[in-house]
């Protein structure tokens, strides 16, 4: 793990909702696993005071890319940073997704700001189906961002303005109903709002399919010290920044 001051190479809007930020750092780009994240200090000052967690979206050589959306003050301030600006970045943090799923077919289920780490996974490794749920057409990723796995991507939008209307979990249910293979032939990896992932786990459980979810909890330290980002696993409250954010479905306590 390293704490570095990096210089922004680029920070621009890629669609109506998302921004893409990139910087160079040999150490922060090395041996990164999909699902791992970085803690960014956006402003030097005291407001906002804490760092903000962001997943790795892509690494190309020593270039690191982050895909983010404006949520509140921190992310708003981040959009105002331009090329040449600096950020303090701590990483790589946490335990990521399994890269290899043996011979299983990998099904990715992403929603909102949970999509970036799954793109990392789909682009580097294999992917059978990539289901993405968004509110509307505005959040659809430009085709240049999903070139390598475009044919696996299925969209749902809540307002029906793109792809299928509805929730991404409905799409997952439809898909699994149609699939003819055994449950052991599939592996689900999901990242998005916690409620969406809970539903994905229920569906997976119903079909007897294994998988992993990357939980989204508010963080302060990002390194397992403050005990603020806990998820309830079978071992009790567990720090998602350190033991996670990715956990296997069967590690989680029922009714999390």
């Amino acid at each position: 793990m390293y704490d570095e001051t990096v210089t922004i190479l680029d920070n621009r809007k890629v669609n109506a909702e998302y921004y893409k930020l990139s910087f160079r750092s040999k150490r922060l780009a090395k041996n990164v696993l999909p699902g791992q994240f970085l803690q960014m200090k956006i402003e030097e000052g005291y407001d906002p005071f804490l760092r903000r967690p962001f997943s790795y979206y892509r690494t190309v050589g020593d270039r690191v890319e982050i895909l983010y959306e404006i949520l509140g003050m921190g992310t708003k301030l981040l959009t105002e940073k331009g090329k040449g600006g600096t950020l303090k970045v701590l990483g790589p943090l946490g335990r990521g997704f399994s890269r290899h799923v043996e011979r299983k077919k990998r099904i990715l289920v992403g929603g909102g700001v949970g999509v970036p780490p799954l793109v990392f996974l789909a682009e580097r490794y294999d992917c059978y189906q990539f289901l993405i749920g968004t509110k509307s057409r505005k959040e659809i990723l430009p085709s240049s961002e999903i070139k390598k796995f475009a044919k696996t991507v299925r969209y749902t939008t809540e307002d029906g303005s793109f792809g299928k209307k509805g929730l991404v979990t409905n799409l997952l249910e439809d898909l699994l109903k149609k699939e003819k293979g055994n449950p052991q032939d599939y592996f689900i990896q999901t990242c998005g709002p916690n409620r969406m992932m809970e539903r994905v786990m229920e569906i997976a459980d119903h079909h007897g399919i294994e998988g992993e979810a990357s939980w989204d909890e508010t963080m302060a330290c990002g390194v397992g010290v403050c005990l603020g980002c806990m998820v309830l696993t079978r071992k009790g409250w567990t720090a998602s920044c350190k033991e996670g954010p990715v956990f296997r479905f069967d590690e989680m306590e029922k009714g999390h």
């Binding site: 407001d47 005071f49 804490l50 508010t218 330290c221 403050c226």
Partner: protein, 309 residues
Amino acid sequence: MVDLTTRIGPLRFKNPITVASGTFGVKDEYADYVDYRKLGAVIAKTITLHPRKGNPMPRICETPAGMLNAIGLQNKGLRDFVEDKIPYFRKRKIPLIVNIAGESTKEFGILAKELDRYKKSIAALELNLSCPNIEAGGVRAIREGRLITKTIEAVRKETQLFIFAKLSPELGDVLETAKEAIRAGADGLSLINTIRGMAIHIESRKPRLAVGTGGLSGPAIRPIALRYVYEIKQALPRVSVIASGGITTWQDAVEFLIAGADLLAIGTANFVNPRATLDILEGLKEYCLKHHIKRIGEIRGSLVTHRRS
């Protein structure tokens, strides 16, 4: 060279920089970033007699220049601490201050007695008499000052270890309680713990913390902490004080030294900058060099008052 050695009663620390309980883990959590041997001491997160699960989520929330927390003293309990944590510090000769909380006066006594068996590996005890996040011994102790006296007496009976009483800034009269704590047998004080606060999510109208309220920490509370340290050192100049409350930069550290603090506990700042302790230590040394200060004691309690005209 600057001599940063800090003496407190029988204790000797190589410098005044330590960490606030609950913000630096219980073992080697920050070892990737900080060489612990460079710190004056390490104060571990509160341990209780039995393991505690802690509070439901959400437990933290950011507020202007700080954060609220309601962790609820999640910890693995005394046994794990003596078996797994104490040996880590002993082997590396890192001065360890053990922070304890009992759910009753009796439990405080038992903890002190058990830990007294490891007195060679422990620099001091810090009694958490002020956690806003547990009912017994926490908020109750805040409400009933006399519980503090009883608790300290119970601990004093069981151990010769140096005892710091960590007080809440929310006691009616902190100075009076500080005096009572010393009379009851505490050797030093630790000031301040967090101050209870609240934040509400306006869409759901739910409190941002699952248990409703939590302790405020970070730069937001620094002036309050500084005032307490100053006033208590003025009234009780011989009593040693571990200061905590928003210390984030070396300038903050110097401020607290001028106010009279003996040790400086870096807290929430660690979350933002894992190397905060060492950065502060470096800055402190440079300040001393620049001002031709040879021993850190020269700054301690050196406040200059305004001339009245």
